[in-house]
């Protein structure tokens, strides 16, 4: 199964994860 997030954010929003990275609930995914 898969979860797709689509959201609006300021242009300086930045993902802090890498493609293929294992993540867990509550782990930081992005910052502004």
């Amino acid at each position: 199964s898969t979860i797709v997030l689509v959201f609006e954010a300021p242009k300086n929003f930045r993902f802090t994860v890498q493609e293929g990275e294992k993540v867990k609930v509550g782990q930081k995914m992005g910052e502004i």
């Binding site: 997030l5 959201f7 609006e8 300021p10 993540v23 867990k24 782990q27």
Partner: protein, 409 residues
């Protein structure tokens, strides 16, 4: 043969360059146009078709939904108590499940594989980062980036339509936003400044009225899918005490950083973003051994959900790299709402082995149903959560709050 090879004269003559150039143009046209060719219906909405290499068409010919329901039935069968520890340890070994962090740890308490699959975690095993966006689930980041135009990149080189993923708001669907009415104030409407001064606490007035509730569709029956969604206003009955809903929704209102708008912020799909903002996307893939409940990725308010009855192709990275429009073809529940920066949506997408999607605050939702005729892709049934917290105009959620999960079958 060797004589023919040796004696046959080799004649060289120039290939006209034009033939080579034409060949390159034809290859380029096929790659850039046919691959991204978009078929539209009479409403101008993209008609989503199964596209991809032959493996995809072979898988598409299988009765995936029946297989999924059979898989769910088998995994719902009660297992003998003596077998459970051995059976679940074997599954955990095969799929890499972490048995130490689940609650309860006693494997004999899970009557079936389906219950084990939908296990909970012990409190505290998932600390929540102090960040605007946190992961909604355990899994692997499949892809992420910025939405260009209205196309979302599935993987490098494959894109799908954002409108096809979230559904297009049809004009008949969006009634004009209505001012909040408060029965105990003889139907007067509350103005913004009053909202802030109630009891001197800047929290949502809606909690003085309603309380966080279980949304139920008015019919109580799984709604029949309508073309482009039929508005099902969730009728609610308050089930939780006023106290906890004030603190819960107040924390969401506070975290959202802005006073929740008394009026709906206009249509939220089709996402017209504010000046200086962009639309971003991220895809998290949950493997069979992962913990399969999902949580809120931020403080946000879910205003509505759109349930798309689709197929149940596997969503493994192998398929995501081959089957174009995978997330738009599959059964999914698009939760639409807003967070402090504007539009926010979260779309759990089902797959062959996990065709059932559960939303804790939406008991009317039924997924992976037996269908006589498959509705065309893009058809959805819509429910709104405006009564869950009337002033927030939707279901408020705090970061990492459990929202629901994927069940086997």
């Amino acid at each position: 043969l060797s004589a023919a090879w040796r004696d046959t004269p080799t004649k060289w003559y120039p290939l006209p360059l034009a033939v080579g150039a034409l060949l390159l143009v034809a290859v380029d046209y096929r790659k850039n146009h046919l691959a991204t060719e978009v078929h539209v219906d009479e409403h101008g909405n993209e008609v989503v078709r199964l596209k991809g290499p032959w493996q995809v068409h072979v898988i598409g010919a299988l009765p995936l939904k029946n297989l999924s329901r059979l898989w769910g039935y088998l995994n719902g069968l009660q297992l003998p108590v003596w077998f459970r520890p051995f059976g679940f340890r074997l599954y955990a070994w095969a799929f890499g499940c972490n048995l130490e962090e689940m609650d309860p740890e006693d494997l004999t308490q899970y009557r079936s594989l389906g219950e084990f699959f939908y296990r909970k975690l012990k409190p505290g095993v998932r600390p929540v980062a102090n960040a605007p966006l946190v992961s909604p689930a355990d899994g692997r980041v499949l892809h992420f980036g910025t939405v260009h135009g209205s196309r979302v990149e599935q993987v490098k080189g494959l894109t799908y339509s954002l409108d096809a993923l979230l559904g297009v708001e049809s004009p008949t669907n969006s009634p004009p936003p209505s001012p909040i009415e408060f029965p105990h104030r003889d139907m007067a409407t509350v103005h913004d400044e009053e909202f802030a001064n109630v009891n001197g606490i800047n929290y949502s007035l809606g909690h003085l009225l309603g309380s966080s509730t279980q949304a139920k569709s008015s019919e109580g029956q799984p709604p029949a899918p309508q073309k482009h969604g039929e508005r099902i206003d969730a009728s609610v009955d308050s089930e939780s005490s006023l106290g906890d809903s004030i603190s819960h929704d107040a924390s969401v209102a506070k975290e959202m950083g802005v006073r929740p708008s008394l009026q709906r912020r206009g249509s939220i799909s089709g996402a017209s973003v504010q000046e200086g903002h962009s639309l971003f996307f991220a895809v998290v893939y949950l493997a069979p051994g992962d913990y399969h409940r999902f949580h809120s990725p931020t403080a946000w308010v879910v205003e509505k959900r759109r349930h798309f009855i689709g197929e149940l192709y596997s969503v493994s990275p192998y398929m995501a790299r081959r089957l174009e429009n995978l997330f738009v073809l599959n059964e999914r529940v698009a939760l639409l709402g807003r967070w402090r920066y504007g539009f926010f949506s979260m779309v759990p997408v089902g797959a062959t082995n996990v065709g059932s999607i559960r939303i804790n605050f939406d008991t009317a939702l039924r997924t992976n149903l037996r269908q006589r005729s498959r509705p065309p892709p893009g058809t959805y049934t819509e429910a709104v959560y405006s009564a869950a917290s009337s002033i927030l105009n939707g279901q408020p959620l705090t970061p990492a709050e459990e929202m629901g999960g994927f069940c086997l079958g």
